[in-house]
Symmetry: C2
Subunit: 335 residues, 2 copies
DNA sequence: CCACCTATTGACAACGCTGAACTAGGCGCT
DNA sequence: AGCGCCTAGTTCAGCGTTGTCAATAGGTGG
């Protein structure tokens, strides 16, 4: 059965198609009698607006691309879920783009694959705002996380304060040799906001961090990477009394490696993660972590995007969101 | 800057818009000289087809809705990721619908919110195929998991054989009183394929399952529900030497509850999950589980949907996929 | 050299919708 | 009474693309 069009409804209600359109758009200058008649007709023929037709006129799709590096990581799955629901609350549908790899991420954010959306919210992993700019931005793009770029709207999560807080917590509970399980490329010296937080906390406590305590995960965010990284670190013979991990997934692998090696957590070594995923609550021992304010982040990102869709065309803005420490068993003071 | 249209390209290449269209669609009867000229022009003006215009003519969107109950559960996150990527391989974009609750799921699958897609792949949780039928299906819908309906294409995952296998495994390793952590509504007697598998295994071993060993999780798939369910079961004073859980999330909560209660796993009680999520590999002890063949499931679902989009209009088909046992530490024989 | 055929290209309409401009009728005001 | 004004509703065009069919050019055979 052919799908009903405006004309079908119009014929049934005995008015013009335009009047039906006006009713559906909630325009004024329609008598309530007509309005009612149209609404009945709409229901009777089971009419639903054809987005293609509307989109052709308006030049809009009502759709937003949400770009995440993957979904297997609970952090991104949760973020994606929140974003989709928040956008849906604003009457926007979303299309999720899984950007495995650098080029895919760039394309998804501004390339060929993104012609059919009004705007983009990208949770960058591989790329920086600069990449975006180099590509030329043809529609609103809001960056959620990562290093800010002056030109793009960006939500800066509390990476620095969060990582500083967790490092301070470790130092305050007596740890002095804090290993860092780093999720950047192997061999590249740590950098970025989280690392800066790590350093700041050490400085505040007058402790000099030992660069030999940096362990690299081969694949930045897999639990298995944390495991490997920790096994590797242990093999170097380094001594440490705490491990601060760049995210929960790595921390969970670290916990396992320590347990296999007979190291007691938290008695011998404290372990902390970052992201505060649900999973951390149920590890053995439960995992201390940093909880970024995902709700805040999502709200800010959606708000800025909606702003842009509404026509705002100013300079790139920056919203900084918070993070708070969630202390569980894995970082209790050494016994 | 206004986005380039076919006419812009046409003007630049010195041909008609239709010829440009023909080139882009790969139609025959275009001389290679013209073809080349057009392609150059396309690149020069940075043309990209406007899906609204195309959609208006073709009546298609090239988009598929993927409906999942949530993303916080790793099982669905993984499934969604695979589906999105598989669809993308077929040149289809996808829009992910999070269907919190029964009505939302129905609407997302066939309702108002789904007018802008060519087809739907739904991972049902709250609803049955019957609900879909009652609503009237206006576009291809493939059901992925859940109880099959004769009219709808459906991928039936290896729930029965999987749950039977894991139950047999427990029985074969000497367990006799196998508690069941059930994810259905509180108080409703267990049913469905997994439960049938549980019963079948018992029958094969000549063991009579004790109905007092069914524990209910208040929220079917949260780790916390598994925890609560197990605490509740322990409070009844029931004795058991194994716990078979309907999914990994519940099993992880169960592990925690047992550990808090001083019960040793697997020495005193074996625990098994279902889904074989990554997380289970890193629990303490690592979690035995049933691995449904997600790859197979996704392939089958996408294949059937593409079939339907291609015009196939036969009766509902059913593809049964397998499942295999993944034995880890949590179900080692009692010491 | 002409008629005819084929290969290539173009003109036009249509898809379903909405903005702009317009009409008809009723109202109040002078 | 006559004027303009407001309201409710209509008509028309056009958004960007593709299908249909006509037209044109170029080559071929008689």
């Amino acid at each position: 059965m052919r799908r009903a069009t405006l004309d079908d409804v119009a014929a049934r209600a005995g008015v013009s198609a335009k009047t039906v359109s006006n009713v559906l758009l909630g325009r004024p200058n329609v008598s309530s009698a007509t309005r009612e008649r149209v609404q009945t007709a709409v229901a009777e023929v089971g009419y639903a607006v054809n987005p293609a037709g509307r989109g052709l006129v308006s030049g809009r799709t009502g759709r937003v691309a949400v770009v995440v590096p993957n979904l297997y990581q609970p952090y991104f799955a949760e973020l994606a879920e929140r974003l989709i629901l928040a956008l849906s609350d604003r009457g926007l549908t979303s299309t999720l783009r899984i950007a495995h790899g650098r080029a895919a991420e760039r394309d998804a954010a501004l390339g060929v694959t993104t012609r059919d959306v009004d705007g983009v919210i990208v949770c960058p992993h591989h790329f920086t705002g600069e990449m975006l700019l180099a590509g030329g931005v043809s529609r609103p793009v809001v960056q959620l996380g990562g290093a800010p770029t002056p030109v793009l709207d960006c939500v800066v999560m509390g990476e620095h304060i969060g990582f500083e807080a967790v490092t301070r917590h470790l130092l305050a509970t007596g740890r002095r040799r804090i290993a860092l399980v780093w999720n950047g490329p192997e061999g590249v010296h740590p950098q970025g906001a989280r690392y800066a937080g790590y350093l700041a906390a050490h400085e505040a406590f007058g402790v000099h961090p030992d660069e030999a305590l940096v362990a690299f995960g081969s694949d930045w965010d897999r639990r298995a990477s944390g495991y490997e990284a920790m096994v590797g670190l242990q093999r170097t013979g380094a001594t440490f009394d705490a491990v601060a991990c760049m995210n929960d997934a790595l921390a969970i692998g670290v916990l396992r490696a320590l347990r296999s090696g007979g190291v007691r957590v938290p008695d011998d070594v404290a372990v902390t993660g970052f992201d505060d995923t649900d999973e951390g609550e149920f590890t053995t021992p439960s995992l201390s972590s940093v909880s970024p304010e995902q709700g805040e982040m999502v709200d800010a990102a959606v708000r800025m995007l909606v702003d842009r869709l509404g026509g705002y065309d100013g300079a790139g803005r920056e919203v900084r969101t918070g993070a708070h420490l969630v202390i569980r068993d894995s970082s209790a003071p050494a016994s």
